[in-house]
Symmetry: C2
Subunit: 468 residues, 2 copies
């Protein structure tokens, strides 16, 4: 963002008279146009058709797979058919992780099949691994186990996730998923099993990324479905040794370059300044990636297309990004930040949709105090959608790597009450999406992006950019 950020709102307010007296840099016509976009979207948007197309014609599109390449071509073609006037690719290179096979069963005392899935990044077992299971109720209690106490054992962390509209139950349980394997390996364990990071009670396991710490043995790691975790816990309660057999074939096979797919509606006045909205194009491999994050891609593609359909484009460019490889470490977002770090000053505002397909109920923003009148005006336009402006929140995952470089962000917070019922499972499918809920979100993104692109105010970030 250029250095006039802090000064311009006041100049604009003086120059443009009453309509801008409150410092939002927007005239009545701009506000009316945003309201029109909002109301048009609420009457029916293209978002559901877009996510139907992505999930039907591509389906699962895990980073590193041939399906992601097909998704890339799909996104380019979709941007084109939606009337975006500039479509381009941004390379993202990363190690390719493969899931080849995964099986689990209780061997004794009561033989039973187990439903599980390898965590992203997991290494293989050496053929079938058989070992006794030791249960922990949290990552903390695993960390507290004496060194060597898990030698030759499978550590099983059975921590239940709390359901919450804002997804606040995710943090503690996803930490188990991310760090559990190395913590268990430190105690001598030969594998990690976790209770799925999910709020459902379906016999479908939740995958998701894990990491090995340097210098610690890399042991295979998998998540049991919630009913299977409860089955295993019930069996362990009987006090007899429980032996589980795991056969996981997975691992990193090389590296690949994929692409962030970017579509733009070029601004009429300041085409080099951009408002970024988007979602991530990659998904996990188990479902069809409908809510994570076909919905986000569809909502923002449809919102941008609505703005593109206006007779007069907004001042700044609307840039819709379908990010590559969010799931395995925000790699598309990091590549964007790295490529754009010297041009972050051209970024007016960025917002990502990546929390399912539930209705938006709150607007948050990470902008300077002087930019807040713009957010306030946006909030007024969004209020009829049931959206309230509130402090807090945070940038979307693929936006976050750019924030330290000075990217102002907004968040349109979705109702995620049922998001973790389906997240990272085979159950992430189109039927979980309500078309009208998508329309509400398109309405919000279209109005937000348009007003941010049209305002005379150059929005500044909440905190100064980090040293580069």
């Amino acid at each position: 963002m250029n250095t006039s950020r802090l000064v311009l709102p006041f100049i604009a307010a003086i120059l443009c008279g009453p309509a801008l007296a409150d410092g939002d840099g927007l005239d009545a016509k701009a506000v009316a146009t945003a309201e029109g976009l909002r109301d048009t979207a609420m009457r029916g948007s293209q978002a559901y058709a877009i996510v139907e197309s992505l999930t039907t014609e591509i389906g699962p599109r895990m980073a590193g797979t041939e399906a992601y390449d097909r998704a890339t071509a799909w996104a380019q073609a979709k941007f084109k058919s939606l009337g975006y006037d500039k479509i381009w690719l941004q390379p993202v290179t990363f190690p390719v992780w493969e899931r080849r096979a995964e099986r689990g069963r209780i061997v004794s005392p009561f033989p039973q099949h187990l439903v599980l899935t390898a965590l992203g990044g997991s290494e293989s077992t050496d053929g079938e691994l058989r070992a006794q299971v030791v249960e922990f109720d949290s990552l903390e209690s695993l960390k507290a186990a004496p060194d060597g106490s898990l030698a030759g054992k499978i550590a099983f962390v059975n921590l239940k996730m709390r359901r919450a509209k804002d997804g606040s139950g995710y943090g503690p349980v996803s930490n188990v998923r991310r760090s559990g394997a190395s913590e268990a390996a430190r105690k001598g364990a030969v594998a990690l099993l976790i209770r799925s990071v999910g709020t459902d009670s379906d016999r479908l396991a939740h995958t998701g990324m894990m990491r090995y710490e340097d210098g610690v043995a890399k042991i295979p790691a998998a998540a049991l479905s919630v009913p299977d975790a409860e089955l295993l816990a019930n069996m362990l309660k009987r006090g007899k040794p429980v032996t589980v057999a795991l056969d996981i074939q997975a691992g990193v096979t090389g590296s690949k370059t994929e692409y962030n797919v970017i579509g733009e509606i070029t601004g009429r006045g300041k085409p080099d300044e951009v408002v970024v909205i988007g979602g991530h194009l990659d998904s996990w491999d188990l479902g069809t990636g409908a809510i994570d994050d076909g919905a986000g891609v569809a909502i923002t593609m449809a919102a941008g297309a609505l703005i593109g359909d206006l007779k007069k484009a907004p001042k700044r460019t609307i840039r819709v990004i379908a990010f590559a490889n969010e799931e395995q470490g925000l790699l598309g977002g990091k590549a964007y930040a790295e490529a754009m770090k010297d041009a972050m000053g051209t970024h007016q505002l960025a917002a990502e949709s990546d929390f399912g397909a539930g209705r938006i109920y709150a607007l948050h923003a990470g902008v300077s105090p002087e930019s807040k009148p713009v957010i306030e005006r946006i909030a007024q336009v969004l209020a009829p959608l049931g959206i309230t402006w509130a402090e807090g929140g945070g940038p979307g995952p693929d936006i976050s790597p750019s924030v330290p470089y000075g990217l102002p962000w907004a968040e349109l917070q979705q109702d995620g009450s049922d998001y973790f019922d389906y997240h990272h499972t085979a159950n992430d499918t189109l039927d979980k999406i309500e078309p009208a809920a998508l329309d509400q979100q398109v309405a919000a993104y279209a109005a937000l992006a348009y007003l941010a692109a049209e305002t005379a105010v150059d929005i500044a970030p909440a905190a100064p950019a980090a040293q580069k």
Copy 2:
């Protein structure tokens, strides 16, 4: 049932004075004892612990598997530990069907994995079968297809199941499952795919039995999960040929003898006359058989045990039956009917619990008009449980083969609103059961069985026994 059925109520009414004036053959003490059983169960029964034990220590126990033998031993031990004074086995012989492997995918135009499961009884594909899919919206439209029109094709019947408290949506869709393969084969089809018989939208397929008609080619048959059926339908809507690959390895491998496991609380006055309650011990192989029908076994075992705990046993014997192989054609029920057809006159009343774990809301009975005062009295005792006596209903599946031989039956109708969300899927697990709902059912079964066993009235069937 002996020939005194019709006469005895009136004699009893005369002999026993006012308490029996209404013809129910029950005195105030008997009613009070039944109310005590009811209230004791409502304070907490053993049913949940029993189904927890069965699903944890045995889990899936499909007919024909080694796991069913373990379940048999489990049931014998459980009857013993619950204090049943006579435990015996009744042989049931049947062909063994095996599920060895099942895989499906869409090959073109848009390659995707498909979640499916072979229907019980299905034959194998010859390696991987690839064929074009033709969709039908009902069994009727499949039947209406011209002969030969499906030559070399896969028939796909995409009929949605209706959710209903009484399970009335099951009939039409289960007919597709049962008869679809032969109907499709008649038109030349090489395989059948159906939309799962279920009310859920989970990516878990519902298995269940199918039959081949004599003289018609035996083609493999599988059910897609509901989201997969919708995916396939959405793909077909695009008007391009859709090719699916199926690899199903399954079939009948021989025959086996398993056992109905029977536990009895011997009656104090007429030990040779029996009140039968029960559920079926076998399950499908995908889940742990919690709601189908671990719940039924547990409810009736716990109800019988409560009666067994009384200081004074009721007049007649309480016979709790854990039926073998219900799922593949009521084979345990048929074996019982065949073994007992000449002794059906010793059967006072029979009721089976096999509709999940939801609370009971209605009492139905198939008894003679003269026996109805007993049912009316039972209904009065059950009323505080939210149970209403109503016409209609039918005998439970394993009871039904005995009804033509003169078995009087009762039905304690459960709320099955969510039964078909989980029925015959991997999702049939313990977490779907609410312990308090089981207690309500134990209360109802205990009171019903006790009063039927205690009454001076010999309950007669609604219709005369069929010619043997």
